[in-house]
């Protein structure tokens, strides 16, 4: 833990002057990373028993993306190890699928090296749960993990980050992700950073279900556009990045086929569900003010962190990126990527079918078709 905090202190000045000299430093650090990568990979391959190339550790394997990465990796023939925290109800589904679970915790750096023995590739899809501290998990935990990977000579490291995270130093999670990216660049690992824009799975709980049930849908009046991506496609891209040598040292943004605003998504859901949404719009300014208020108090700190995204919303940004190069680099077919329309249509077809079955049995039908 001592080394972790030391690293933090080393990084601080750079982070503070980040805005000013970003372009310069990123160039320098990528050069740095490349030279170190060459250095570190040489002794690994020459001495000792070679690590099985198909061995992979997934951190954050129980998460939405993590579990898809595990499934995909198993399907592609990897020996998958999943780092899970020792807890009351263990992640049995991972073992059901054939992954090996290793007990470990990002907040406990001593638990990391044993989990990394004999691992070739580390895929990091972990992030703090809402109730957890972003700082403890996403910064200190990640630094500990990267340092453990350096020490254990891990030969490939894939890190899941957030799109445009370098543009929002005010948002804690994004700032942490951005810092971690930079730390990774100087670590000398053969890294790939994948920046996700937004996942379609989030749409279900936020819009699809409330619209179906006729509940109130909360939206903001922003015009931020997000290119939602299916987690399964993200997992596919993630594994393509793992096996692609050209992706080493690159930062790729994973975007869906088209960027949507919230109102467009709601309109789509209404169309597919055949129900009209009961939308309550909250002006972004309210959110910002609320953030300012909640940030004052310690007990509302978490809420403030989350409300900090109001800053992002007010920017009318587009969370998307041209994907041609990425598809080309990863050797994937763009046509295989799920679109939001396809995803929501499939979801509604399935759920309506299921609801009909349930309704036929129980004799009650509280849904509007």
């Amino acid at each position: 833990m001592a080394s972790t905090s030391m690293m933090i202190s080393c990084r601080t000045p750079a982070v503070q002057s980040r805005q000013a000299s970003r372009s310069f430093r990123s160039r320098r650090s990528s050069l740095h990373a490349r030279s170190e990568a060459a250095d570190s990979s040489a002794p690994v391959s020459s001495s000792g028993t070679p690590v099985k190339k198909m061995s992979m550790l997934v951190v954050g394997a129980t998460g939405t993306l993590g579990r898809q990465v595990v499934r995909r990796a198993l399907d592609e023939g990897y020996e998958v190890r999943a780092l899970v925290r020792p807890r009351q109800n263990p992640a049995d589904f991972l073992r059901d699928w054939g992954a090996v679970t290793v007990k470990g915790d990002l907040n406990d750096p001593s638990s990391l090296p044993p989990a990394l023995v004999g691992v070739h590739t580390v895929v990091d899809c972990a992030t703090a749960r809402p109730e957890e501290s972003v700082r403890a998990v996403d910064w200190e935990g990640k630094v500990a993990l990267i340092q453990a990977c350096q020490a254990m000579k891990i030969q490939r490291y894939v890190y899941m980050s957030i799109a445009n995270c370098d543009k929002h130093p005010d948002v804690p999670l994004m700032a942490v992700k951005s810092c971690t990216e930079e730390y990774l660049q100087t670590s000398g690992l053969n890294y790939t950073v994948l920046r996700a824009c937004g996942f379609m799975q989030a749409l279900i709980g936020q819009y699809a279900i409330p619209i179906l049930e006729g509940n109130q849908v909360w939206g903001t009046d922003d015009t931020t556009r997000t290119a939602y991506l299916n987690t399964q496609d993200a997992a596919r891209m993630c594994l393509a990045a793992v096996r692609s040598d050209e992706a080493v040292g690159k930062t790729l943004t994973l975007a869906g086929p088209r960027a949507f605003t919230v109102s467009e998504v709601i309109a789509l859901c209404e169309k597919l569900a055949g129900a009209s949404a009961n939308v309550s719009k909250v002006p972004v300014s309210v959110l910002r003010t609320a953030k300012a208020i909640t940030g004052v108090f310690q007990w509302t700190g978490d809420a403030a962190d989350r409300l900090a995204f109001a800053e992002v919303l007010s920017g009318n940004e587009v969370f998307s990126a041209p994907m041609d190069e990425t598809y080309d680099l990863l050797g994937l077919n763009p046509e295989e990527t799920t679109t939001v329309e396809m995803y929501l249509r499939e979801y509604y077809t399935q759920i309506l079918k299921k609801l009909k079955e349930v309704g036929a049995q129980s004799g009650q039908n509280r849904f509007d078709f």
């Binding site: 982070v15 109800n89 295989e336």
Partner: protein, 777 residues
């Protein structure tokens, strides 16, 4: 970090939200606990830029400001009633989520019950986009033999991910002690579920199945198998274990006390909690390929035992269904298809000679009765004769008049030599002869005789409707014929089909070399060619007759054969060049020495046939066998020797490698033939040397000629195996698969002619890849 179970993530987040007001209620202690986490150390990075690190909160501030901002959900709830508080909390959490929902937790965490349940359940097909045949997954139980091997391991995981019920036959190991299962009462599960009792020879112990002492979960962990599979402990060399792998509900033999006590009743009401195996994936590799015994067990006998057990079970089920067993409703409702071939003609009982191992090990009542029937049929066994009436013997075969043939035909003028020859034959007054009879040795059908003149033919045929086929002459339900023949070695025998209007189709049966071995020839309908140009394409539903035809070889051919024979016997007579007859070394063949000319011109023939069966047309393979290409075999041998010598980089010399290749392919081919002969719908995958690389890296090449020598990734092989389980185009095909050749030549000058198929989990590459490949070879 988001390493919580999906099921509790929603509850945990809501609990956090409810916690917030509570923590305020208990004010200081809660916020004090939180403080060390929140308080930004001076050396921390940017996160705290976003957090104004001001003074401690004051409740009065909270009320004042929230009132100003007209955000009712920030009202401090602890002064309100419980109900009001809940409502406020809901509003608050929604409000907070507004800001954070869209991308803050993009890398892992959502509180969606629906989403979690969808993704978490592996049996749910739509959770994976790359699924093949998931709609069929739930109804199938796949037995994977060799599940701990490099390919088997991945096959098992893939199947589990797709929601199959997976069963593994695992050899007992030293590190996992076993004990007889206590959960299965031997009293209940007598025999198999279909009521066919099994008697085991070779001193096999019958009784409850084995289970691991350390527990099932632990054993799976040691073996590296997913927790969702079920393990059957057993050895491939044991017929009982193989049978158990197909039907885990079988436990005892017919001599047991409970069987005598309860009889068949015990079977009818036995709890069938374990589904029977519907498909077999066989990817066993001998651990020590240099050990001939080990190899023949893994490559040949294991395949034989398992396929026999599979057939025993499923055919027993079919039989039972046909008997209209009314006692068990479950059996009535489920549908059973007959696995394997349907007997069309059987002229003898040579099953005991053929299926040595398994039938000896697993000889039940049924086999015994079949022997009795073979000896002439016992009228007392009415029930058995009903079920056995499907095939006919030699009595329905008739010889059509042998002819001298058309010679050159109408279009071509007859050559002077030929005309001379015919005149000579007429002058001699000899007649073509052919007979069909039951051979005195084994009761095989023997078709023999002699014809004269070039192009002379002899034919014997039998009508299909002599056979009581299930359904209304459902020949189109079958894929083709399987003949079990042996002949004198001439390449002049044809299998003939004739439809009701007299159109004829033929297929040349080649390479029946020796008399003593029975050759099984599988002929799909599509292999039959019209006998002349005007004949319309074969319509299976109109077929009426099948036959065997002999066409005398041309003079040149006959002379060639004769010459070879003479050279072999070193009999350099003067009249070698004029002898035209074929001496077939038959001892009881007494020809007239005096009438030399007659003998000179006679073309004698003899073909024996023991069985003709119909191959069922199947939609999907029942049995997928993982074999290997020659190069793959050599690599296996090399690796095994390297392990034995403890030299990881051990390389075999070229001679050694060639020998190893031939040696290993020999047993592998024998195993493949064993499987083909069963009549099950099979797929044989022969991968090149295996590599430990992820799937989807390179394009795959599918071939049947044995030309390909490249390597292939284990995961790609596993993908091909899993895909072929539901691939109609894979039925009854054997093919090599490997990565495409990387050519050193510049693009455009690539010399490789085989079509490569890009492998990916998303696209179904297997169907187009297998489409052009031939069946049944």
């Amino acid at each position: 970090m988001s390493s919580g179970g999906g099921e509790n993530s929603s509850s945990s987040s809501t609990s956090t939200k409810t916690k917030k007001p509570n923590s305020v209620k208990s004010s200081r202690s809660a916020s004090g606990r939180r403080t060390p986490k929140r308080a930004p150390p001076p050396s921390s990075p940017s996160p705290e830029d976003a957090q104004p690190s001001t003074a401690a909160p004051q409740p009065s501030d909270l009320f004042g400001v929230s009132g100003n901002e007209k955000v009712p959900e920030t009202l401090n709830p602890f002064e309100l009633g419980r109900k009001a508080r809940e409502a406020t909390e809901n509003l608050w959490s929604t409000f907070v989520d507004l800001g954070s929902g869209f991308s803050s937790r993009s890398s892992g965490d959502y509180d969606l019950d629906v989403d979690m349940s969808r993704v978490a359940s592996p049996s749910d097909g739509e959770a994976m986009t790359c699924d093949v045949g998931t709609d069929k997954a739930e109804t199938n139980t796949v037995l994977v033999v060799g599940a701990t091997g490099s390919v088997g391991k991945i096959v098992v995981r893939k199947l589990v991910l797709r929601g199959y019920n997976v069963r593994c036959l695992v050899r007992p190991r030293d590190d996992i002690p076993l004990q007889p299962s206590t959960r299965v009462g031997p009293d209940v599960r007598v025999g198999g579920r279909h009521g066919r009792t099994l008697r085991f020879s070779k001193g096999e112990t019958t009784g409850p199945p084995l289970e691991a002492v350390c527990g099932d979960a632990e054993a799976k962990q040691i073996l590296g198998l997913p927790q969702q599979v079920s393990i059957v402990w057993g050895n491939l060399a044991s017929g009982l274990d193989c049978y158990r792998a197909i039907d885990p509900c079988c436990a005892c033999d017919a001599d047991s006390e409970s069987f005598r006590k309860y009889g068949w009743e015990a079977l009818c009401y036995a709890p069938y909690d374990k589904p029977p195996t519907t498909k077999v994936v066989y990817c066993v590799r001998a651990s020590n390929p240099d050990d001939e015994g080990d190899r023949s067990l893994c490559d040949i006998d294991g395949v034989g035992y398992l396929s026999q057990a599979y057939q025993t079970y499923w055919n027993g089920m079919t039989q039972m269904q046909q008997r209209n067993w009314k006692r068990d409703r479950r059996l009535q409702t489920s549908e059973f298809n007959k696995k394997g071939k349907t007997l069309l003609f059987m002229f003898s009982d040579n099953t005991t000679a053929q299926g040595r191992g398994f039938n000896a090990a697993l000889r039940g009542r049924d086999t015994d009765k079949r022997v009795v029937r073979g000896a002439g049929g016992d009228p007392k066994q009415k029930r058995q004769t009903v079920t056995r009436k499907r095939y006919r013997g030699v009595e329905s075969w008739r010889v059509t008049e042998p002819s001298t043939g058309k010679g050159g035909g109408a279009s071509k003028p007859m050559s002077p030599q030929e005309r001379l020859r015919r005149e000579y034959i007429e002058a001699l007054g000899v007649k073509n002869e052919a007979t069909v009879r039951s051979s005195e040795y084994k009761g095989v059908m023997r078709f023999e005789g002699e014809v004269y003149a070039k192009g002379g033919v002899a034919e014997a045929r039998a009508p299909f409707d002599a056979v009581d086929l299930p359904g209304v002459m459902a020949l189109e339900k079958y894929e083709g014929l399987q003949l079990e023949c042996s002949s004198d070695g001439q390449p002049c025998y044809w299998c003939i089909l004739e439809d009701e209007t007299g159109n004829r189709y033929r297929y040349r049966m080649s390479a029946m070399s020796t008399y003593q071995t029975w050759k099984k020839i599988r002929v799909p309908w599509s292999s039959f060619r019209p006998m002349n140009n005007k004949t319309p394409p074969l319509d299976v539903s109109k077929l009426k007759y099948m036959g065997i035809r002999y066409e005398a070889p041309s003079v040149a051919q006959a002379e060639k054969i004769k010459l070879q024979e003479v050279l072999r016997s070193r009999d350099f007579d003067d009249d070698v060049d004029v002898r035209l007859s074929i001496d077939d070394d038959d001892d009881d063949d007494d020809f007239d020495d005096e009438d030399e000319d007659k003998e000179l011109l006679a073309a004698k023939f003899r073909i024996d046939c023991s069985k003709v069966s119909l191959l069922p047309r199947q939609e999907e393979p029942d049995f997928v066998l993982l074999s290997c290409t020659g190069a793959g075999a050599a690599k296996q041998m090399e690796e095994a020797r390297g392990r034995a010598l403890n030299q990881p980089n051990y390389k075999m010399s070229e001679n050694e490698s060639t020998f190893a290749e031939r040696d290993m392919r020999r047993t592998k081919t024998a195993g493949e033939d064993r499987l083909k002969a069963t009549g099950l719908a099979y797929t044989i995958v022969r991968p090149g040397p295996l590599q430990d690389v992820p799937s989807g890296l390179q394009a795959l090449v599918f071939d049947q000629s044995g030309r390909v020598r490249n390597s292939i990734g284990t995961a790609d092989v596993a993908d091909v195996v899993v895909r072929s389980l539901h691939e109609e185009k894979a039925v009854n095909k054997s093919f090599e698969v490997c990565y495409e050749q990387k050519s050193d030549l510049p693009t455009g000058l690539d010399s490789y002619e085989l079509v490569a198929h890009l492998s990916s989990l998303e696209t179904d590459y297997l169907k187009p890849a297998l489409e052009p490949l031939e069946r049944n070879i």
